[in-house]
């Protein structure tokens, strides 16, 4: 049984995230299409822009931070 790396809740079957952060990731991905249509931005810029909004939900914010730090770590290694 693994724990979500963000909040230490139990991970969902087959994923590393808990149900909340998994859902947050799904919603983050779903909203990308609208941001792309609205601003013509790519995924990385999207993450950076959406993170700066005050309205962003806490779990989505945590997912963005997690994705960003993971991608930074993979670039360093």
């Amino acid at each position: 049984m693994t724990e979500c790396p963000i909040c230490f809740r139990q991970s969902m079957n087959g994923t590393e995230l808990c149900e909340y952060h998994e859902e947050a990731l799904t919603r983050l991905r779903a909203a990308f299409a609208e941001w792309e249509k609205a601003l013509g931005v790519g995924w990385i810029d999207y993450l950076s822009l959406v993170y700066r909004t005050q309205e962003l939900g806490l779990w989505v914010r945590e997912i963005v931070a997690y994705l960003t730090s993971r991608s930074a770590a993979s670039m360093l290694s």
């Binding site: 230490f8 909203a31 249509k37 309205e55 962003l56 939900g57 806490l58 989505v60």
Partner: protein, 710 residues
């Protein structure tokens, strides 16, 4: 000549009843140890008026042990189950004694489920009489005339359907509250050996789910950008805001292209539409309307509004506040109330204006309550100066009552179509033509006029600015005490008397934080566990069905035994299901609690060392608290930050906009404020500190000189 015992609900009510019933208005107050009663004379009868202190009897399990399931209960004196209720012991002894000295019994408690049950239990267990022989006084205000009339036309019997319903409600709430709380608490003890009381209940479970679902939606919200075209123009020196007819624009390029297209064009009026809207006077308040309005106007929590209204009722200034009714009966003497109110200096002119009206017929709302009319002033003037909060609620009730008697208001709504090239914009205006009832609701009217110049087709508007505003979609709003109260009412959960208390319990038990009902980690832990293992506890359907069954009993249509036995059977199934998963549930709760405690302590990463975490620390020497680095103990980091020593400190998941350190919320008594852990050094908070220092100095300066100082 007979001797009568009148049982009221509270000491203040007993005094008012005795004063009203005594022929000379001067009843004898007789003290017996720490409690008192009143003796008065009326029509050769001797009337003894006593009081309860709310409930004098409570339920207790018949089988011993702090375990579950426990399904059988008995009514016992409150002091036997609650240490704090020691005052009820001499009172019960007094009522027992007085009960032996009289030949007639009259219940004069509040006319509702709780009041009826209180009176019944006193008669049954303290006086030990045949309750079928007792009489019932029914009144909706504590004025002399209402009390005398209620006494003289007392009902020959108690309201047994209401009593039955109240009894079932108490038992069902006890069964669910006690058994579920023990099940949760014992699962934690079994799993981790801790004794941490974790409570839930029949109504609290569904409320927790409402709040949790909203909290989840907010936490999962991803905003999307949109753009508004903000166009300003001038017509005959009037500034106008033009509103784009298509609303928001979902693409940045399109928004800027549209703005470019508009600039340089001359908008003109294409059409003007006007309509008059008649706005009837509002009905008088029922409890939830009063609570909603008091929250909107004064920020009062529903429980506070109820408590202030209750005080005004006991002072005979307003009618009984626990009512669902928005209607006033034709028998109500409106002229007498107005004549009383006009003697209050600040209300006099307004009341006299209303008295000049040809007709004084109140607007009636849709909601009814067979027990009590809508909340209204009694016409009695306050004998002493009201406290600020009491005055606010009193004035609100009075103005609403006066407004309900006012004539309809008429508003003119204007909407003009403005064409700018091929693009359509609108300008809107609102003007009150006849103020009507609004004059009487006065400072509490929620209405803003928006003036527009006289516009005609073909009028040209001079553009002054065209801007593009970037905005983001917003998450759903969090509940506030008022919106949550409305939700419970809509869902038919709890009663008008209990809802505000249950709402408060979410905060007091630590399941939510602040007035905006943000679910805490503890709230999540309970919610997640119940949702996964015993979802029925969170189900509004089950609670709603029980409410309906209890209402049926009150209407005389349902059977107390069948409702109770069904509730017990459902609870047994639920607890059996719980017991079979007790270990797993306990582990889940323990993990949730650990997360909660960790989050309560965790103040973020240490800024001065690589792997330290800032946590809340209590000094073993002084007992004072501060924020310290987790590496302090191994001697590698000595980073600390001071904390306020009073109140509860909650770490927030946001950073200080000035210094980037973690923000905290401090809850001290009724006050709550936010600051950062670096508040003593933070450059952005020096003004706050200066203001605080000034406030302290002023307080010191204005402090009265005490003997010791001399």
């Amino acid at each position: 000549m007979s001797r009568v015992l009148v049982i009221s609900e509270k000491p203040n009510a007993a005094k008012r009843i005795a004063q009203a019933l005594d022929e000379k208005g001067q009843p004898h107050e007789i003290a017996v140890g720490s409690v008192t009663y009143y003796e008065c004379t009326k029509d050769n009868d001797t009337i003894l008026v006593t009081y309860a202190l709310g409930h004098l009897y409570e339920l207790r399990q018949t089988e011993g042990g702090w375990n579950y399931p426990r399904l059988e209960t008995e009514w016992v004196p409150k002091y036997e189950v609650e240490k704090k209720a020691a005052k009820t012991r001499p009172l019960i002894a007094l009522i027992k004694r007085l009960g032996r000295q009289v030949d007639r019994f009259v219940v004069a408690t509040d006319y509702d489920i709780e009041g009826s049950l209180i009176g019944y239990l006193v008669l049954k267990y303290a006086c030990e009489i045949d309750t079928a022989k007792a009489q019932r006084m029914v009144f909706s205000s504590l004025t002399k005339s209402d009390i005398v009339e209620a006494y003289e036309s007392a009902r020959p019997n108690l309201d047994f359907t209401m009593i039955e319903s109240g009894c079932v409600r108490h038992k069902v709430d006890w069964l669910y509250g006690i058994n579920l709380t023990r099940a949760l608490t014992l699962s934690i003890r079994k799993s981790a050996g801790w004794f941490k009381i974790v409570s839930t209940g029949r109504v609290q479970g569904p409320i927790l789910e409402f709040v949790a679902l909203r909290d989840k939606e907010i936490n999962l919200f991803v905003p999307t950008p949109f753009w508004n075209i903000a166009v300003q123009g001038i017509f005959e020196k009037h500034e106008l805001s033009l509103e784009f007819s298509n609303g928001r624009i979902d693409n940045k390029e399109m928004a800027y292209a549209l703005a470019d297209e508009i600039r340089g064009k001359t908008p003109y009026v294409d059409a003007v539409r006007e309509k008059s809207v008649v706005q009837s006077a509002p009905p008088p308040f029922n409890l939830s309307d009063l609570q909603t309005e008091a929250y909107r106007l004064f920020g009062f929590r529903p429980s506070k509004t109820l408590s202030v209204a209750q005080k005004l009722y006991l002072d005979a200034l307003i009618s009984y506040p626990r009512t669902s009714s928005q209607r006033l009966p034709p028998s109500l003497d409106i002229n007498a109330i107005l004549n009383g109110l006009q003697k209050i200096a600040r209300l006099g002119p307004l009341v006299r204006r209303l008295l000049k009206q040809a007709q004084l017929t109140p607007t009636q709302g849709e909601k009814e309550d067979p027990a009590h009319p809508a909340i209204h002033p009694t016409g009695t003037q306050p004998t002493e100066e009201l406290r600020p909060n009491e005055r606010k609620i009193f004035d609100l009730v009075v103005h609403r009552f006066l407004a309900s008697l006012g004539e309809a208001a008429v508003k003119k709504i204007v909407k003009a179509d403005i064409l700018c090239g091929e693009r359509l914009f609108y300008v809107r205006g609102v003007k009150v033509l006849i103020t009507g009832w609004m004059d009487f609701y006065g400072p509490f009217v929620l209405m803003k006029e928006k003036a527009l110049p006289d516009l005609s087709k073909g009028d040209e508007i001079q553009l002054t600015s065209v801007k593009v505003d970037e905005k983001y979609t917003s998450p759903p709003s969090r509940y506030n005490p008022s919106s949550l109260l409305r939700l419970l009412e809509r869902e038919n959960l709890g009663t008008k008397a209990t809802r505000s208390e249950i709402i408060d319990s979410l905060n007091s038990r630590g399941y939510t934080v602040g007035d905006r009902f943000e679910l805490s980690a503890l709230g999540y832990a309970i919610y997640e566990t119940l949702k996964q293992y015993v979802p029925t506890v969170l189900s509004a359907d089950m609670t709603r069905r029980l409410e309906e069954e209890m209402e049926e009993i009150q209407r005389g249509a349902g059977s107390r035994e069948s409702v109770l036995s069904e509730a017990k059977a459902n609870l047994l199934t639920l607890l059996g299901n719980f017991r079979s998963q007790e270990d797993t549930i306990g582990q889940a709760l323990v993990k949730g609690l650990q997360r909660y405690w960790r989050e309560e302590q965790d103040m973020g990463p240490c800024p001065n060392c690589e792997d330290g975490t800032l946590t809340l620390v209590y000094s073993p020497k002084s007992g004072k608290r501060f924020v310290g680095c987790s590496n302090y103990r191994n001697g590698t980091c000595s980073t600390t930050f001071p904390l306020p020593q009073k109140g509860k400190v909650l770490p927030l998941k946001k950073q200080c906009p000035y210094c980037g350190y973690r923000m905290i919320r401090v809850l001290s008594g009724r006050k709550a404020w936010e600051t950062c852990i670096n508040w003593a050094e933070c450059t952005g908070r020096q003004d706050e500190l200066k203001a605080l220092e000034e406030k302290r100095t002023t307080k010191e300066r204005t402090k009265p000189v005490e003997d010791e100082d001399i």
